[in-house]
């Protein structure tokens, strides 16, 4: 608005005031004219002042309807007939139809205010200009003289009540609802109540006083006793029952007061209950910290009660016996007010009582989760804030534990509240998983356990896992790796105070701690404990990666191991091992590794020969056995034994093959046609077997072990690799080897039948090969004997007289341990009829073994062809690259036009 209209407006108001004063001014003839003028201007000033002082903002909501409602209500109340109210309604609707006036509600309200001038005796304002001596300033401090009419209240009982609920009354209430109220604020409210408020209180007191009914015991008495009640103490009129669960009210109290006391008794009873809860010593650290936090809150509550008591005392001291209700209303301290003041605290107490109830069945992290759920999920922001505050105190011991755990790797949790718990070593042994571990592996795997129930909701599961790992690693570094100095240094450097609040920083810190610890652990593992060297050594020696060493070992041990297992002696074995190491490239390996290599015999069973029992061992000790666990060791041994058997068969076949080859150039020549044919087919089968063994070895060593090793290497050298990753990668490596190396894989069809594992199949094939070899040796022996006989016959034909020297000249084959060779050897003079008898038996045996070998290979290939694993299928393909075999499965899919078995031997390398 422009300033000119503003000025005009002020002018108009001025005029109005002047007119008003003139209109209502009554001349006093006795006064002098000056006095009169003086009085007039005085009045004008007063009017202006009042108007100005209240010009800002309407006290009530600007609503014409509300004003009309108020008027209507009054009209109905004051008049028995509704006639006037009806008329007013008519007038009001007429008024609404006239657009000329803007502030309809204001005028109505004005009329309403002025209207009951006669019917009601409002608080009388002392007029400042009644006595001109008084300064105008004092006009504001109005005092009220309540109506003295005794029958007034009984006549119109609802009116003051309604008055109290008028919008004005509600409007003027200090805006304190909602949100957390401080005790300070409370004090402030007591200390300097704004003038408006005081007026308001006074007004309401006056109104209430009009409707006052004397109660027994009086309100003053009750007020005096109230602070005691609020502290849970019995007083004359308000007694707690013995069990402290009920509050007995005097029977004389009227119902409204009783209901107020119901509200007031709640905090009192809750306080009593909570204070007894705080006294209890149960619960762990978190439980105690919860108690401490609650007792803190209770102290605040007591502070409030103390303030309240102070107010009540002051109010009671200023009581005036002459006024109704003892003038209590004026002091601003009433029971109802007390109800209002204690309301927020009651809510807090209620929440704490709930928490204390719930906490009895919870512990540790669950407790935190409980309170956290209040602070996060509760709809009431006040409850949320309260729980948040409580949480800051309650979580303190939790964060202390967390700190100790992630910076020192120590678990200081006397009450088992932390989400990591130390396991009883005895319990671990009895764990039902069957594989008991010893040494360091249990320090890593079993010493500590993550208890998911106790992970508080302020921490995510991921995070808990990380925390768990950090502490575990630190603990492991300290105890397993004996590097406590580093841990101490680290905890000194990195230790930070953790507190509930900014989760982001906390996560940062924990991430950092995680990284540091993991790096350190990996570093220790690789540098101090040579983990990777050990892994490599395992691959070289146990998995037969070091070919020259294994070949040498086998050669030197072969004669030894042919003997029964009972005749094997450890010292000879170790001596041979030493020899093998010394003469192979293994000698350049580090002594740390070689020291751990050992040869020993497995447990003997009856009838075993040395080959079955011999094993090479690589000793792993703490803390590396965290990675290469006992289970891993067993897997290694299994693989070794399998490979060793293959190697042995290969070795045996090679020896026989060599013999045959040398023999073919000498003693095996010149026999009859049948024998030549027999040798030819035998060589064919032998070559087949060698091919089979070669492919199998190639597959296991290169396709399986080397590729898995490659994967292991990449996994281990990845950035941010943790010990758990390492363990996982190694386990995966072993699993791959045992699975793909045909050791663990089962035929998918009838996997329940353990006879059908590849391991068993291969074992059968290998045994067949050995038997075949024996048979070949037998054939060789027979051939040699035959040769001898033939030579002998030549000799006898040529020089009969020198027959006694024959036996000496003939070279006796020593490789043929048993069989006809020795027999023939021992009985050189035996007639030649016995020897041809031997040949068909041998031939039959060879053919039988050869045929069943082929059958078994076909079955194996058939099984391999349907393996889900690509590598294993590949093995089948490699073995049968020229489709010689017809893989037999229940349904033979491709009936290959098999070539003759005769042509096979030429195809073999």
């Amino acid at each position: 608005m422009s300033s000119s209209s503003q000025i005009k407006r002020i002018e108009r108001i001025e005029q109005g005031i002047q007119g008003l004063v003139k209109k209502l001014f009554v001349k006093d003839p006795s006064e002098s004219e000056e006095d009169e003028d003086d009085r007039k201007s005085n009045a004008v000033d007063f009017v202006k002042q009042i108007l100005e002082s209240r010009s800002r903002g309407p006290a009530v909501v600007a609503d014409a309807n509300q004003a009309s409602d108020l008027i209507k209500k009054r009209l109905i109340q004051t008049n028995s007939s509704p006639e006037k109210a009806l008329r007013f309604t008519n007038l009001y609707s007429r008024l609404l139809s006239i657009p000329a006036i803007k502030e309809k509600w204001a005028v109505l309200y004005f009329l309403y205010q002025i209207g009951d001038n006669h019917s009601q005796s409002p608080p009388i304002l002392t007029s400042p200009f009644k006595s001109p001596v008084k300064a105008h300033r004092e006009s504001k401090s109005m005092s009220y003289v309540p109506s003295k009419s005794p029958d007034y209240a009984s006549k119109r009982p609802e009116k003051p009540f309604k008055e109290a609920f008028a919008p004005e009354g509600i409007q003027k209430l200090p805006a304190r609802e909602g949100g957390q109220r401080d005790r300070k604020e409370e004090e402030q409210m007591f200390a300097k109540p704004p003038a408006v408020q005081r007026e308001d209180v006074a007004l309401k007191a006056a109104l209430l006083a009009e409707n006052y009914v004397e109660i027994n015991p009086s309100e003053a008495t009750l007020l005096r006793e109230l602070p005691f009640t609020l502290q849970g103490l019995s007083s004359t009129n308000l007694k707690f029952s013995d069990d402290g669960r009920t509050l007995t009210l005097p029977p004389t109290l009227p119902v409204p007061i009783v209901s107020m006391f119901h509200t007031l008794a709640e905090p009192a009873l809750l306080y009593k209950e909570l204070s007894s809860f705080v006294q209890t010593a149960e619960g762990g650290l978190l439980g105690q910290s919860l108690r401490a936090a609650i007792s803190n809150e209770l102290r605040l509550y007591l502070g409030l009660v103390a303030t309240l008591e102070g107010q009540i005392r002051r109010a009671l001291a200023s009581l005036n016996e002459n006024e109704p209700r003892g003038g209590l209303g004026k002091t601003g301290v009433t029971l109802r007010r007390c109800v209002i003041w204690t309301r927020d605290s009651t809510a807090g107490l209620r929440l704490m009582s709930l928490i204390s109830e719930e906490s009895k069945s919870k512990k540790g992290g669950q407790l935190i989760s409980l309170i956290h759920s209040f602070s996060v999920c509760h709809g009431d922001p006040m409850v949320g804030a309260f729980a948040e505050r409580l949480l800051a105190h309650v979580t303190r011991p939790f964060y202390d534990m967390l700190r100790q755990w992630i910076y020192d790797g120590e678990l200081s949790d006397p009450h088992f509240e932390f989400f990591v718990s130390e396991q009883d070593p005895n319990a671990v042994v009895e764990a039902p998983d069957g594989k008991s571990r010893g040494g360091a592996s249990s320090v890593w795997e079993d010493k500590y356990k993550l208890n998911e129930d106790l992970v508080p909701s302020i921490i995510t599961q991921d995070f808990a896992q990380k925390v768990f790992l950090i502490g575990k690693s630190l603990n492991f570094i300290r105890h397993g790796c004996g590097d406590s100095e580093w841990v101490e240094e680290y905890s000194k450097d990195a230790s930070k105070e953790l507190r509930y609040g900014d989760t982001a920083t906390l996560e940062d810190w924990i991430d950092q701690a995680y990284k540091t610890t993991m790096t350190r652990l990996i570093h220790l593992m690789s540098e101090k404990f040579h983990l990777f060297e050990h892994l490599k050594a395992l691959k070289n020696y146990i998995l037969l990666g070091q070919g020259d060493f294994i070949a040498l070992l086998m050669e030197s041990l072969a004669s030894n191991l042919d003997r029964p297992a009972g005749a094997q002696y450890r010292h000879t074995l170790t001596a041979q091992l030493e020899h093998a190491i010394r003469h192979s490239n293994a000698q350049y390996d580090s002594p740390e590794v070689l020291r751990r290599l050992d040869a020993r015999m497995l447990q003997l069973s009856h009838g075993d020969i040395g080959w079955d029992c011999f094993t090479l061992e690589y000793k792993i000790d703490a803390p590396v056995d965290v990675v290469v666990t006992e289970w891993g060791n067993r897997q290694y041994l299994k693989v070794f034994n399998f490979l060793w058997r293959i190697k042995r068969v290969e070795f045996a076949l090679a020896t026989t093959w060599r013999k045959c080859m040398t023999g073919a150039r000498g003693i095996l020549t010149g026999g009859d046609k049948d024998v030549d044919q027999a040798w030819k087919s035998t060589r064919g089968v032998l070559a087949e077997m060698i091919h089979f063994i070669g492919q199998l070895q190639y597959y296991i060593l290169f396709e399986v072990i080397e590729s898995s090793w490659d994967e292991l290497e990449t996994a281990v050298h990845k950035e941010g690799c943790t010990l758990d990753d390492l363990i996982g990668a190694h386990t995966k490596y072993l699993n791959a080897i045992t699975h793909k190396g045909l050791l663990g894989a089962k035929k998918s069809r009838n996997s329940e039948n353990s006879d059908n594992t590849f391991m068993v199949q291969l074992g059968d094939i290998l045994i067949h090969m050995l038997n075949y070899r024996d048979a070949v040796d037998g054939l060789y022996g027979w051939s040699v004997a035959d040769f001898t006989v033939r030579q002998g016959m030549d000799f006898s034909v040529r020089a009969e007289r020198r027959e006694d020297e024959d036996g000496v000249l003939i070279p006796t084959p020593k490789t043929a341990r048993r069989g006809p060779a020795n027999l023939a050897d021992s009985t050189p003079a035996l007639d030649s009829e016995a020897i041809p008898d031997e040949f068909p038996v041998l031939l039959e045996r060879l053919q039988l073994l050869g045929a069943s070998f082929k059958k078994m290979v076909c079955v194996l290939l058939g099984d391999l062809a349907y393996q889900p694993d690509v590598d294993m299928r590949f093995l089948g393909v490699v073995m049968n690259f020229n489709d010689v075999y017809q893989p037999t499965r229940r349904k033979v899919r491709v009936p290959t036009t098999g070539r003759g078995e005769q042509g096979r031997s030429s195809a073999k390398p």
């Binding site: 108001i13 209109k23 001349k27 009017v47 007038l91 000329a100 005028v107 009951d116 001038n117």
Partner: protein
């Protein structure tokens, strides 16, 4: 006077009539003149509550003054009577 103003005047009159009637219903004891002054004041943004207080005050004051005056008059009359007796 333009017809518009006339209309406004008529409306104002009507308003005052209505309000006067309401005030009489409420026993407000205001004559039309006072009422129109009050309405114009309120229209100009005066707080109605304050105005009500003011009116009450002024009325009370007027009452008191009147009483005072009457007393004085009574006294004066008595005085004059007494003088007359003498």
């Amino acid at each position: 006077m333009p017809p518009q103003d006339k209309e406004i005047m008529a409306q104002a009159k009507q308003v005052i009539e209505v309000f006067h009637e309401i005030s009489s219903l409420l026993n407000a004891d205001l004559d039309k003149q006072t009422l129109s002054i009050c309405i114009s004041l309120i229209e100009n943004g005066v707080n109605p509550e304050a105005l009500a207080t003011v009116i009450k005050e002024l009325k009370k004051d007027a009452e008191e003054t009147k009483q005072h005056v009457e007393q004085q008059q009574n006294l004066g009359r008595r005085d004059s009577q007494a003088e007359g007796r003498r």
